[in-house]
């Protein structure tokens, strides 16, 4: 490992520094909303019960599903990238179905899925992602946006885990959080052509406030 590449572990990184370290460059940093606090916490504001938290998480998954579908259709990625994106879209669909099943068990109906790119953009902004779906040109840019989307999702699941009461839901949220982290790792590797040093940029995902003071 080159000395200049070494990333000390446990250092008091800022979120922006974390982003630059992982993806590099102003383009990537531009996808991150200019907010100092993890945005997902705001997205879950007002959700106290397990049912309310499930509803919020499902709303996020629905927006992410829309984003994957939109980007796959619009950016015409190379076959290997398209294959990965379709696989991850499949994972997001599984997440949404499981959350929806849990909602149904609690006698609640799933929220209506978003019907426009601008509605999805609003969710992404609330997750701390600045990118606009309609402004993504090229698969490399799309990959970078999706990395931020996955990190935003990871933040939402982390914040839900703080509040969820049912241990079975804590387990489910932890499994999905880990999957989102794994997907972000693959997306970074695709964007940076196999650079595993960037693909796992920190010892924690998300970079929780307690460790990023």
């Amino acid at each position: 490992m080159e000395r200049g590449d070494e990333r000390p572990v446990g250092r008091c990184d800022t979120r922006r520094g974390f982003v630059r370290g992982a993806l590099g460059g102003a383009v990537a940093a531009g996808f991150m909303a200019a907010r100092s606090q993890p945005a997902a916490a705001g997205l879950l504001t007002g959700a106290g019960s397990d049912g309310e938290l499930l509803e919020k998480l499902l709303g996020i998954e629905q927006a992410v599903i829309y984003a994957y579908r939109h980007l796959i259709a619009s950016i015409r990625p190379p076959a290997s990238v398209a294959s990965t994106l379709r696989k991850f879209l499949g994972h997001e669909l599984v997440h949404a179905r499981m959350l929806s099943d849990e909602l149904s068990r609690r006698g609640r109906k799933p929220p209506a899925p978003p019907r426009s790119a601008s509605a999805v953009d609003a969710v992404l902004t609330a997750l701390g992602v600045n990118g606009r779906l309609e402004q993504i040109h090229g698969w490399e840019q799309a990959l970078q946006l999706l990395v931020f989307v996955e990190w935003g999702e990871a933040g939402a699941y982390h914040d839900a885990i703080l509040k969820l009461a049912d241990p079975a839901l804590v387990r489910l949220a932890t499994q999905i959080l880990t999957c989102e982290g794994q997907q972000s790792t693959v997306l970074i590797e695709l964007a940076h052509h196999g650079d595993v040093q960037r693909a796992v940029p920190h010892a924690f995902l998300p970079l929780v406030p307690e460790l990023a003071a």
Binding site: V9, R11, I161, A199, V208, E210
Partner: protein, 190 residues
Amino acid sequence: MVGDSTRVSRRDLLAVSGAAGVALALAGCTDVTTSTNPTLSKLALKANPSDVPILNGLLEIEYLLAYAYTAATPLLNRADSRTTRQFLHYELAHITVLRTLIDSAHGKAAAQRSTYPLGHRQGARELLSLLHRIKAESIRRYLSAIPRLSHGGVRGLTASIMANEGQQLTVLRKSLGLEPVPAALATGAE
């Protein structure tokens, strides 16, 4: 900071007790110590005493991971050893956080063993397979432990560690030519 010339030996790992000491011995690095790291010294979470046995169970698997990475790193090729050295640092950070949480509950942190049975592995693929197997076991341990933790903040912090373990598992799987993210839910069975 660790450069290419730095050798991380099992002797180094075992020569000191306590994760902070391990980190110092490994890297001459002050970043992961509770005494000098401003991040961890600010860790305000207070774990409940009832959670100490669960956290110690996680600490045990982190010791094993750190030991395995330490043992494997010198035997891997340059690219793989760069990766495992980075991951070793992450495990040391996890150890430090878990010990800090146990301390916060006035509990006694489990001590690392003098040795861990890793068997005799021949070649890079067998070593990576071993790391993969232990990493998958760590996912199973975290998945079993996290829902049983009583404190939401501690659940969140340990979940953020498990997510990182999942990321590492993905890299190891890719190195082994396996599907990097084989399922929509991480189980540790993959």
